[in-house]
């Protein structure tokens, strides 16, 4: 340190050397795993060094075709969940617009606080809460029993037909308040004079919303939409892992889950690596494309 202080090293290098430990650290934790993609080109055997493993070229990539029956089902689930997510994209916007129409600041704040809470709990806790509400000994079953229902209760979390809808609703429940905040901020940033002028012209509340608020929110909506499109294959692992059960396996296995299943449960490290690698490359390409599109349409990049 003393040597640095003495000023023998120029500030620009001193700064770089101060950042160097972080560079090495991030290299070790974020870049080194990427080198692990090499396992996709080898026949991975636990306990062997990479040099002792057999190089198999694209053999692991070819598994995609032999595995297509399973993989196409997984991709279907992935795209269904992402598609439903896109369908739900306007919900936080309307949440914010209607919340903005509420004039009592206290109530507004209260709604904001309560609706953002689900965002800050883990999917395991969401699972535990769903269990408390939907399971055979849960709230709904208990209420039905108290009302004298004698029909056998079916747990919706084990319903194959309901699983997409259920996971979709849970996802909205968890995120709508949080995503709404971005729009609330955007609404707060709209020039108040626009509203004044429109009101003087005799515009009604709905006209204000339709002709001023919603158009002002388009840019925000567009950016978020592009980001979610670029995340088409990234549904996340947690949600689908915790809600997985054999009864709904057919429809709940999304790509992030499948990478785990192939790697950890089936123990095919190489094939799992290939799937993870292709998923990342696809996402980066999509993000890049979305960014280019944004530049073209709005003259501004999103990342």
């Amino acid at each position: 340190m003393g040597k640095f202080r003495a000023g023998k090293i120029k500030p620009k290098y001193r700064l770089f050397f101060m950042a160097l430990p972080f560079i090495i650290f991030v290299f070790a934790f974020a870049y080194v795993p990427i080198f692990g993609w090499m396992y996709g080109f080898f026949d991975y055997k636990p306990g062997l060094a990479l040099s002792d493993m057999e190089f198999v070229g694209l053999k692991n990539f070819m598994k995609i075709f032999t595995d297509w029956r399973d993989l196409s089902r997984v991709l279907r689930n992935t795209l269904v969940m992402s598609g439903l997510g896109l369908l739900a994209a306007p919900i936080p916007m309307f949440f914010a617009i209607f919340l903005n129409e509420i004039r009592r600041p206290f109530f507004k704040k209260f709604v904001q606080t309560t609706t953002t809470l689900p965002y800050f709990i883990s999917w395991i806790i969401v699972f535990a809460l769903s269990f408390a509400v939907f399971s055979n000994e849960g709230l709904i079953a208990n209420i039905l029993k108290m009302m004298g229902s004698t029909k056998a209760f079916t747990n919706i979390l084990g319903e194959n037909d309901a699983v997409w809808c259920m996971q979709w609703v849970l996802g909205i429940w968890k995120s709508v308040g949080w995503n709404g905040i971005i729009y609330i901020a955007a609404i707060a940033g709209i020039d108040a004079e626009l509203y004044e002028a429109a009101r003087v012209d005799g515009a009604s509340r709905f006209q204000l919303i339709r002709n001023i608020t919603i158009p002002s929110l388009y840019p925000t909506f567009f950016v978020l939409l592009l980001l979610s499109i670029s995340n088409l294959l990234n549904n996340g692992f947690d949600q689908y892992f915790v809600f997985f059960n054999p009864l709904v396996a057919d429809r709940i296995e999304v790509l992030d889950y499948y990478v785990y299943k192939v790697g950890i449960l089936i123990n095919d490290y190489s094939y799992s690596t290939v799937l993870g690698m292709l998923k990342t490359l696809f996402s980066v390409a999509m993000l890049f494309g979305a960014n280019q599109l944004s530049k073209k349409v709005r003259g501004e990049s999103i990342v």
């Binding site: 640095f4 620009k12 290098y13 001193r14 700064l15 770089f16 101060m18 950042a19 972080f22 560079i23 991030v26 870049y31 795993p33 990427i34 692990g36 993609w37 396992y39 949440f95 209607f98 509420i102 004039r103 109530f107 209260f110 709604v111 606080t113 309560t114 953002t116 809470l117 800050f120 709990i121 883990s122 395991i124 806790i125 699972f127 809460l129 769903s130 269990f131 408390a132 509400v133 709230l139 208990n142 108290m146 429940w173 949080w178 905040i181 971005i182 955007a186 925000t220 990478v259 785990y260 790697g263 950890i264 490290y269 799992s272 993870g276 990342t280 996402s283 980066v284 993000l287 990342v303």
Partner: protein, 290 residues
């Protein structure tokens, strides 16, 4: 300007009351279930029935629950402290235009937000570093976060630079300027990031699931998942308490599950209302491009 309370307002209020209930009630239900007498608890809807803390008492007499709670608290505090210190200092460094290869360094970090190696390469790398069954696995990988770095950097760039310049003239080094001038000025954003990091630490369980089998290193989230999912654990607790015949209150598996849910959720529910404004500030700053 006062406006009339219209039918639309009435519906709007009703709608938001409903949304609020849907968001809050599951938490409330689990809490009242957990403090009810387990035998009456299946009839609980709005208020607890036959108040009893017996299940909690039993659970807190089990070593694995207490231990897991301790591990979760430890990883939350240590992990957050490490993230805040490392990430904010790094953010300070990358605000310095004169740094050698600054653009490259900055991009080097930002790229990590988009490129994800995937589960197996990550798993094998962590194992190769000896982080399997190691507490450091919980706190090390998150020490430097590109996203937080961008947020802090953006905030630092909005600070007036005159103070730093006068300190520079006084001969203070980068580290001293960071510690005594910049870091204290960044309190608002640092608080926000500390909270994000803490919540993420408390909620994280995948590292535990994939790489930690050691019973003594289990986190609260993992324990909760296991209890909800496996009848086995619950049966163990029950048989243990069955032996304790002095207990007037019989503990049910469902009551145990509800209690553990509360234990795993309560830290977030306690700090959350006070910190909500920081959360909101964070997302607003995140909306500003880094």
């Amino acid at each position: 300007m006062k406006q009339k309370f219209t039918v639309f307002d009435a519906i709007n209020y009703l709608l938001f009351i409903l949304i609020t209930i849907v968001c809050i009630y599951p938490f409330y239900y689990v809490v009242i279930y957990s403090i009810s007498n387990p035998e009456l608890a299946s009839k609980v809807v709005l208020l607890p029935k036959g108040f009893s803390l017996q299940t909690y008492k039993t659970l807190f007499s089990l070593n694995n629950i207490v231990g897991a709670f301790g591990i979760s608290v430890a990883r939350t505090f240590l992990g957050t402290a490490l993230t805040v210190v490392c990430t904010s200092f790094l953010a300070y460094l990358v605000t310095k235009q004169e740094m050698f290869a600054r653009k490259f360094v900055y991009r080097f970090f930002v790229i990590t937000m988009y490129i994800n190696a995937g589960l197996i390469p990550w798993y094998l790398t962590m194992r190769a570093y000896g982080l399997k069954d190691n507490f450091l696995l919980y706190i090390l990988p998150t020490a430097v976060s590109a996203y937080y770095m961008i947020l802090i950097k953006t905030y630092m760039e909005s600070l007036p630079i005159s103070m730093e310049e006068s300190a520079r003239i006084d001969g203070a080094g980068y580290f001293r300027i960071f510690r005594s001038i910049i870091f204290p000025l960044c309190k608002p954003i640092v608080a926000t990031i500390a909270i994000y990091a803490a919540v993420a630490q408390w909620n994280n369980w995948t590292d535990n699931y994939f790489l930690v089998n050691d019973e003594n290193l289990q986190t609260m989230q993992m324990i909760l998942y296991n209890y909800i999912n496996q009848a086995q654990n619950v049966a163990n607790v029950s048989s243990q308490t069955m032996a304790d015949t002095a207990n007037a209150v019989k503990i049910t598996p469902m009551a145990i599950k509800m209690c553990i849910t509360v234990i795993a959720t309560v830290p977030i529910m306690c700090v959350y209302p006070f910190l909500q404004k920081h959360f909101v500030k964070g997302i607003m700053m995140g909306a500003v491009k880094g």
